[in-house]
Symmetry: C2
Subunit: 212 residues, 2 copies
């Protein structure tokens, strides 16, 4: 009996796997076309194509928070989202931030995952929906991202890290696991705490400044 | 013994699954940043970001084959690749081609997969490396993509469709399965034949012209 259930479980995983492979196979081709469109300066079509891929690019703000265009994009996208969802979004990035040694994709994963968790948590509050973000250098050797957000549902602790309360159970913890992995890659760590009904997330990365 | 092997097999599938989920989770964030960069006209950064994702955007040609910018991108990208690999690439698209009713993403998947298979097959030839492509309407109701390519390794037949001889066994057949699926979506079909050492692929899609 148990073996039958196991087999069904594995069969469904194998099916998922095939679907993922097929999607990843397609995605590579979508991305190549997006790159070609970008190189021929056909931006409107890039945005349309992404929307066909269910990536909604709202009317994006164009604030300049730092001299890193990836950071600006990450924050501008969330500013627009928070504006729509009536969430107060307060961001400040110190001008001397050293991001050169962090891969763009890793920046997007780490900051994006943490911001999205914060926004999702605060969006469940009836009032006082707010996300507060600071990025700064500590002791010139550590890059710190600090996010504070209100919440209405207390996140569950899972091992050493909190996981958010999401409707999509399948994706539980994937984001946080990824951030922990990447923090580790940069000799850093992720810390979460709850204080006076505020959820505080600190990502600390150690930056090798010997080249600067 | 067999059960142990089975378990190992399933464990590895489960591990793959987790890695895919994690990658797909990240990719959504990468795409959102790419969209934001495109909307703020930061194309150079879009191309750089895609290169970090291992999507190589070569110095792309800017030929205009049709009034469909997605089609132009798909073909321009392959023209550049063929130029580098010393493959003769001959494309002609009839001006009256009706592509409005086909989703951009499906166009990319179908044409991209078939072109990439043709280019991969011909690239294994020592000389006479050549891909010949025509797109036209048949009887005003059918959109036809015809690809002819030389080959040196005879593709194996797998069910009703040929599969290319690829080094990466894991990805065998994914592309062709996807094209068959999509052809079916558009009430069409895929046909392959070998004739005088030329491999001929015909994709026929039925186009509902009642709105035109």
């Amino acid at each position: 009996m148990k073996s039958d259930m196991e087999r069904k479980h594995y069969d469904s995983i194998e099916k998922n796997n095939r679907e993922h492979m097929s999607y990843l196979h397609d995605i590579e081709r979508y991305l190549r076309t997006i790159g070609t469109l970008a190189q021929t300066e056909n931006n409107t079509k890039v945005v349309l194509l992404l929307e066909e891929m269910n990536i909604q690019i709202q009317n994006i703000s164009k604030n300049i928070y730092s001299n890193n265009s990836i950071l600006n994009s990450i924050f501008n996208e969330r500013v627009s989202q928070c504006h729509i969802e009536k969430i107060s979004f307060d961001v400040y990035i110190e001008p001397n931030l050293k991001t050169d040694l962090i891969d763009d994709l890793d920046l997007i994963s780490m900051i994006g995952n943490l911001l999205d968790n914060a926004i999702e948590a605060t969006s469940k509050c009836k009032d006082n929906r707010s996300v507060y973000v600071r990025m700064f250098m500590a002791n010139e050797k550590f890059l710190v991202l600090r996010i504070e957000n209100t919440y209405s549902i207390k996140p569950k602790k899972f091992g050493n890290s909190f996981i958010t309360v999401k409707s999509d159970r399948k994706n539980h913890g994937i984001g946080i696991n990824r951030v922990n992995q990447l923090a580790d890659k940069y000799g850093g760590f992720l810390q979460t705490e709850m204080k006076d009904n505020i959820f505080i997330t600190s990502l600390i990365l150690s930056i090798n400044c010997s080249n600067s």
